[in-house]
Symmetry: C2
Subunit: 408 residues, 2 copies
């Protein structure tokens, strides 16, 4: 008998409780273990539910109950989630969480505590909903040397960008449609400004580096500056625009971690990931590229991922050693030395000529320019940020309307 407590009876929390209730028999059959929900922490009134008797408003009813073996934290936010999880670990309970903010900000500390107490802290549901990204990555990390991680990790922005590309919608219209379909929250700023992707890539980067990567140290750009015009130009050259979270390990001076829009070849594995789907590309020295994709959100998939972690708590006696990183902050390389191609859209008198003068001859101009306004779009050769700045200074009488890196 393994007693579980669920902190928070929101979308994911109710999904977890319902899954354990409705699939208890199946779970028992498959795992040969008995898993049940003993307590649910939520101060709201759920007296109409068949399992109303399980609710409590007091965290101590859970923390002080020695029978409760696993605490599922699905409240979201940093406080009081952090304090509750910390206490649970201190009391020798394993914790399963879907809270990406908590794992990104406090993961190192909590994982250290879990290791010290010989319990587990699992967080599959915190990145990619029901897609087993964390599991696939930590398996890769055991036998392989990780070269790169690149992920489309936010369904809201991928939906918006896909609609801008495929249906030529404006950002605002696409956001409205995302809201209608339930893919965007009332306040979508964490999504569209890249913070959500940043938290997720920080979790993956911390795993990959073995040391903490804090969201505040990661250069993060959202998609609010991307226009349908940019999407159209990009497509004319065989690219789509994706909001990517990326980690490149083993560079000089440390790993590179970044979040921002990028031009990705349309026919590439990440270019194929459309609408609300998420995907992650894991490039290992031994295994080469592995891509894993699916719906990255939703009540049932996320709750399913939580159940998977609960089962792992019950079945595996040892915590996966690669599902860990230390509190020491990772040394991150700065990007200024990195040579990358850029997509640029400029406006001005004789823009093409000005661009050639500023960047040299080796430019790929994209078809479909709006000549009436003197607009040009082109791809630069690979160049550093400093070289780009210099070239932009040389770009006389032109205004830069769009600037997006090209994933090489």
């Amino acid at each position: 008998m393994h007693a579980v407590a669920v902190l928070g009876h929101g979308v994911v929390g109710s999904g977890v409780v319902e899954l354990i209730l409705s699939r208890g028999e199946t779970l028992r059959e498959r795992t040969r273990e008995d898993i049940f929900v003993k307590r649910i922490l939520d101060i709201r009134d759920f007296s109409h539910l068949s399992y109303a008797g399980l609710f409590t408003g007091k965290i101590d009813d859970i923390l002080d109950d020695p029978e409760i073996e696993i605490v599922v934290e699905v409240m979201g936010g940093l406080s009081p989630a952090f304090e509750y999880v910390r206490e649970a670990l201190l009391k020798g309970k394993s914790v399963v969480t879907s809270n990406k903010e908590l794992v990104a900000e406090k993961g190192a500390q909590l994982l250290g505590l879990a290791r010290e107490r010989g319990v587990k802290l699992l967080f599959e549901a915190s990145v990619g909903g029901g897609i087993p990204l964390i599991r696939t990555l930590h398996q890769s990390l055991v036998a392989d040397d990780l070269v790169e991680i690149a992920g489309v990790l936010n369904g809201t922005t991928n939906f918006i960008l896909t609609r801008m590309i495929q249906s030529k919608m404006t950002f605002e219209d696409a956001l409205c449609l995302a809201r209608e379909k339930g893919f965007a929250e009332a306040d979508p700023s964490a999504d569209i400004e890249g913070l959500d992707t940043c938290r997720k890539i920080c979790i993956l980067a911390s795993m990959a580096c073995g040391k903490n990567v804090s969201p505040q140290n990661v250069k993060t750009e959202g998609i609010t500056g991307v226009t349908p015009k940019d999407a159209l130009y990009a497509r004319s050259a065989g690219y789509v625009i994706k909001l990517l979270g990326e980690v490149r390990t083993a560079g000089p001076g440390g790993s590179r971690v970044s979040v921002g829009p990028a031009l990705v070849p349309e026919a590439s594995p990440l270019g194929c990931v459309c609408d609300e789907f998420n995907a992650i590309l894991i490039r290992g020295k031994i295994t080469g590229d592995i891509l894993i994709s699916g719906r990255g959100a939703g009540k049932e998939p996320t709750a399913g991922a939580v159940i998977g972690d609960i089962v792992q708590c019950v079945l595996d006696s040892k915590a996966p050693p690669t599902l860990f990183w230390s509190e020491e902050e990772s040394e991150l390389a700065d990007f200024s030395a990195l040579e990358e191609r850029r997509y640029l859209r400029i406006e001005g008198k004789e823009a093409a000529k000005a661009a050639r003068e500023a960047f040299g001859g080796d430019l790929s101009f994209l078809p479909g320019q709006d000549k009436t306004v003197g607009e040009e779009a082109f791809l630069t050769p690979p160049m550093t940020e400093a070289a780009l700045c210099e070239a932009l200074e040389r770009l006389k009488d032109c205004r830069v309307l769009g600037k997006i890196r090209v994933r090489g």
Copy 2:
């Protein structure tokens, strides 16, 4: 200290030994366990190797050594691999294998033995090389209800089909190119006739069904009948041709398991998987679709998957309960009741008219017909195999040149 013995020093076997030797320190750091190769079974002369002292020609040197905890079987073939693995399990050793023939034919028996003796039999490398297909599937199986598995599981045939589609090569030329690039063996018949895919889908189907699915019970068709013309017609309608292994569970009368070429939408997740890449789509009731793809073969990726399994043997004390199926044979539904669309290519006088008369009006004729020879290609409405046969009998004065199902 965990002693490993490797049976067979071929491509994969030497890869496993080299990885353990070259990455021993890293493995130790990451797993906090000490894994080393104690013995290698191979009768050939490897006296030039730095680790020549590890070789033996006698299996009993391995089976009778109580220090050897894990036996890695990478010999291939059924005999003596089966006898050796059986003995190893009987002696209380865990076994890791990359041998798909062994797992497809004898998996149930060996898994039963492993469970009885409290040891593990892991086989990640038997399907999809370094891509963690088995792991992802068995995780899905714990918390989810599996609806469908569909996989591009053979790199050789996917490479050939991709070249036929993208470069308009004939089957023979594409096969030659695959051989040149090392993607096809001297005798490619197991690949191109679908047997390799059949063994792999049987392993996945057995896991999904919990009961054995024998290769001899699965309708298997290869790709030797596919022509560049079919590829061209398919593409004109937005499809590509893939050799698929498929499992559909929970149908009336049992699961459906099949291997054969199919038209797949070009822009779909499986349609995007090109060249020597493999992919598997896992459709769960809770999680929805998960796609995982990567290079499905090669010395290093396959050896990496074996190392991953070795690490799991060392770290996890309990065998994953869903990595098991019973010896009882799965009840498989026959396909005759299944309504599917078909792609047909026919030749004859007034072929279009004949087709309309035989199949009714609801046909999608594909552009690009070679009118000079009276050829027509079209997609039928969804129909059963029996209805198709009846319609084909009504198809007067026409010869059927191509017939491929459309994945719906």
